[in-house]
């Protein structure tokens, strides 16, 4: 329970971050959504044993984090929080893939360890970008971008309503849970039957609320379409942002910058 509750506080703080006013925040959401998707595709398209070529990709989150003035610690913490699944699956690689790929001094490094590290790197890159996207764009912005890109209106409207009532319903649920905890002793009262009643109650209340919301919409002229005023513009800034970063990603994708730089340094040292 505490996990979910804190997670909801974090939704609030991500929304607060999205209220910032920097160059990145001001960009049209579409530019950010498209660039992020290209970034993710580039990152995951690497071979499973690739490590060094992935590292230069950190430049994108690093630049965005600083230009958008986001707190690094907060995002790192969120990253750690969701790491288990990728870790759980990836950690099997060293067991199943024991071919030695290369040696560092006397220690042989197996393919499994390399691909495990690669999975964790991919994980850091892709997840941190998803978080940065929402922290600079706001949920509302992402929804608008999705709609402009072609997502059906029914779907985006529903996403907005979900986000709006998340907080209201989570508040209700947490009050129910507290009320139950205060009157449950020795594990009695937290079983299935009571659970069914509580969730059922919450569901009925939710259905009533949906009806009231529908009424409130109708009272203000709702006939099935939700109109919103769009204040975004895809201008030169957006165009350059998307184009320049996509170019960077493609270059990094096809030229292993780490390898080149390292080779250059070694040569220089000799």
């Amino acid at each position: 329970m505490s996990r979910i509750e804190t997670a909801f506080f974090e939704i609030g703080s991500l929304d607060t971050l999205a209220g910032g006013d920097t160059f990145v925040h001001r960009l049209d959401p579409r530019a950010k959504v498209v660039t992020t998707l290209i970034f993710i595709c580039c990152v995951v398209s690497f071979q499973k044993y690739q490590l060094s070529a992935l590292l230069p990709f950190f430049i994108f989150p690093a630049v965005l984090l600083t230009t958008a003035q986001l707190p690094v610690g907060f995002l790192l913490k969120k990253l750690l929080f969701v790491a288990p699944f990728a870790f759980f699956i990836g950690v099997f690689n060293p067991f199943f893939d024991q071919t030695i790929l290369f040696h560092v001094g006397p220690v042989g490094i197996s393919g499994g360890w390399v691909s495990f590290a690669s999975i964790m790197l991919r994980f850091c890159l892709t997840i941190s970008m998803a978080l940065i996207l929402i922290a600079t764009t706001s949920f509302n912005g992402v929804c608008m971008a999705l709609e402009k890109i072609g997502a059906p209106r029914v779907f985006t409207v529903q996403l907005l309503l979900l986000h709006r009532y998340l907080f209201v319903l989570v508040g209700e649920a947490s009050r129910l849970v507290k009320a139950r905890a205060l009157r449950s002793f020795n594990g009695r009262g937290t079983g299935m039957t009571v659970f069914g009643h509580i969730v059922g109650q919450l569901l009925l209340r939710t259905l009533d609320r949906a009806q009231r919301i529908h009424l409130a919409m109708q009272c203000r002229g709702f006939t099935g379409e939700i109109h919103q005023m769009r204040l975004f513009r895809f201008g030169w800034h957006e165009f350059f942002f998307t184009l320049a970063w996509s170019a960077v990603f493609l270059i990094l994708r096809f030229y292993n910058l780490s390898q080149l730089l390292g080779g250059f340094l070694l040569e220089f040292a000799q």
Binding site: F167, I213, A216, C219
Partner: protein
């Protein structure tokens, strides 16, 4: 503008399970009046309000708002002239930002973007909440939510304002401010509430409802001084009209 009339005649309503909710209610409210509808829990206030905005259409009796008798065909016209403020502002503020929410109604009326902007900022400034324009509704305090919910209704320029318990959940200061703001409106106001002190401040006329029937309809002060009537309807004199508990004086 004599057409801002709300007239209810012999209205009856029975719940689907057969429980009678409203049994022959009649009243007539004219332009610019400010009327309180008071009654105990379950007296039928909410059901009555549901008829005023066309959520329920009368099966027995009639409801007339302005020039339109309320029927399925006229519902949208009625809704345009009656602004309904809900008891729980969370039900009413469903859009992602305050601006979007207040613009929701005017955009549905099909107004051009420039007009919508003007209407939104007018409505928000009238409730002194223009600075909240870009905030998401879930980050507002109770008082702010209430103010925005009212602004969202004002932006449609309704002729009649119908409010359900406008002061629940407000702290004393927010309540006081809301009362002052409501008092400054020229609209015809219909307020359903338990807050009888609010009624003293805002409404010259009170309609008392009990068990689905109109028990009294007249000047507020006259009704509030009728202790027997109030008791019969499970109500109580507003605190300001009760004797002082310390010195015992009326």
């Amino acid at each position: 503008m004599s057409h801002h009339i709300v007239a209810v005649k012999d209205l009856e309503y029975t719940y689907p399970d057969g429980t009678p909710a409203i049994q022959g209610v009649s009243f007539r409210i004219t332009h610019g009046e400010s009327v309180a509808i008071v009654g105990a829990n379950g007296a039928g206030k909410s059901t009555l309000l549901m008829h005023l905005n066309g959520y329920l259409t009368p099966r027995e009796g009639s409801v007339q708002v302005g020039d339109f008798p309320l029927t399925k065909a006229t519902v949208s016209d009625v809704r345009r002239s009656v602004g309904m403020v809900f008891q729980d502002p969370d039900d009413q503020l469903f859009m992602p930002t305050v601006f979007d929410d207040v613009a929701f109604g005017p955009l549905n009326l099909g107004l051009p973007a420039e007009d919508v902007k003007v209407r939104v900022s007018d409505a928000l400034s009238r409730m002194d909440v223009l600075h909240l324009k870009d905030r998401p509704p879930y980050k507002l305090s109770g008082g702010e939510k209430r103010a925005v919910a009212i602004a969202a209704v004002l932006s449609m320029s309704p002729d009649v304002l119908v409010m359900d318990e406008p002061t629940t959940g407000l702290d004393p200061r927010a309540r006081r401010q809301l009362i002052a703001q409501l008092d400054s409106f020229q609209h015809t106001k219909i307020i359903a509430t338990h807050d009888l002190d609010l009624v003293l401040d805002l409404c010259q006329r009170t309609i008392v409802i009990h068990a689905g029937k109109v028990m009294a309809d007249g000047p507020t002060l006259e009704i509030f001084n009728d202790g027997k009537l109030l008791e019969r309807c499970h109500l109580e004199k507003p605190l300001r009209l009760q004797g002082c508990p310390v010195c015992g004086r009326d």
